[in-house]
């Protein structure tokens, strides 16, 4: 199913941590999500949001939204310490950041009695399920960032 997500620019780092975490749990490599949410859209007030739209597996959605706070991926064993001969901090995933992003998620799904699509706003990670990417972002009150040529 298609997910379209908008995150305020201030929350980009946490949102990427969340994407890396959930992606890694679902078989991706961290590098495949570290550059996610690169596109930028804006609201009528000119606030910038980083946005993403992609097809997510049912497993991706489940681990992102239906199974409680995300856990550190088992493969994120940290960094090898040659002196101590063991793995430990620093880790790849900023788990605290990932959980902050998860806490800010507001999910909208189409339904007969569904409320209006939540508007993108500070402190909120709006997730729209099912719509095309552009329709979802426009429903959130966003439009493509104007670029001067």
């Amino acid at each position: 199913m298609r997910l379209t997500i908008a995150t305020p620019i201030a929350d980009l780092s946490d949102t990427r941590a969340f994407a890396v975490c959930v992606g890694w749990i679902n078989g991706f490599r961290p590098e495949e999500w570290q550059g996610s949410f690169a596109a930028q859209w804006q609201d009528d007030a000119g606030n910038i949001y980083h946005v993403s739209s992609f097809e997510a597996s049912a497993e991706w959605v489940a681990s992102a939204a239906m199974m409680g706070p995300v856990d550190r991926p088992p493969e994120d064993v940290g960094t090898w310490d040659e002196d101590a001969q063991e793995y430990g901090a620093p880790y790849v995933v900023n788990l605290a950041g990932a959980r902050r992003a998860q806490d800010r998620m507001v999910i909208w799904q189409p339904a007969e009695d569904a409320p209006p699509v939540p508007q993108a706003s500070a402190g909120t990670l709006v997730v729209v399920v099912g719509m095309s990417g552009r329709d979802a972002l426009e429903a959130m009150g966003l439009r493509p960032l104007e670029v001067e040529i």
Partner: protein, 307 residues
Amino acid sequence: MRLGLGLSITVRMKGGTAAPPAFDPASLFASGEEGAWYEPSPETAFLSTTNLTPCDVGDSCGFLLDKSQGAGYSDGAFTGLGSELVTNGDFETGDLTGWENSGGDFVYDSGFVRDTGTTGTVFRQQLATQAGKLYKVEFDYVASPSNGTPSLSWEGSRTFYATDWGSLGSRPVVYLRATQDNSYFGFEGRIAVNWAVDNISVKELPGNHATQVTADARPILRQTAGGLYYLEDDEVNDVLNWTAPADTDYTISYVNTAGTVTTLTGQSLSGATNILLDPAIVGYVAVDRALTAGETTDLESYLEGLT
């Protein structure tokens, strides 16, 4: 992509019945011209550069094979690979000729190379790579480590660890992109000892393949009811780039699912160049030169004939 001065655009709408295309776009590159030729399908679209599993319809695709330099995919393997770049990868010389072994950790052992030390030095050699090109790396996994996790060393960084090599006796394969000319390639063990490899090979997968590292920016392979494959651009954040050598006279021609062919001439390209010029792209050809009128007609007819 940046549009250059002197740009012209022609758009050709599908109409009537097109004759079967006899023209081969590869002919446009016969004199060594740079460029790319893409036709997305399960034979040319793959999940990612590090997971070259063919895309099914509905998959997000992070690697699209460029057919302009003769590369292909058949029976689960890429075809049209370049020549061998590794010197003495099979150790037929009976020693480690061709390899740097500064720390002395690695020794020749009955036809293969074994890591016997823990100084952390790299067993490597410099290859005639070219920045931006993709290389198939493969080797026999002869003996596993008694401690630690060996890996490849590519351009000075560890990658493709033994945890991804499969079972002992397998022949691990990985595709790595060169970010510089004359890359150093080899193996690194650190604390890992007693592991061994043999028949080490590195060959170029020729062409300017289009890639997207970031998962949420990959286009999706779709198929029309009529069986036509295309890449769907979500028009939010999808980008699929090839690396264009800098020049100011590229010709780009592409076709969408409606059969509309668009040709852009006099294009200035440099570096990352997005092929998603249409939300439903079926074919894309870029050539680093002006085409003759006959070539343009042939190419446009060919692209139209795909739909």
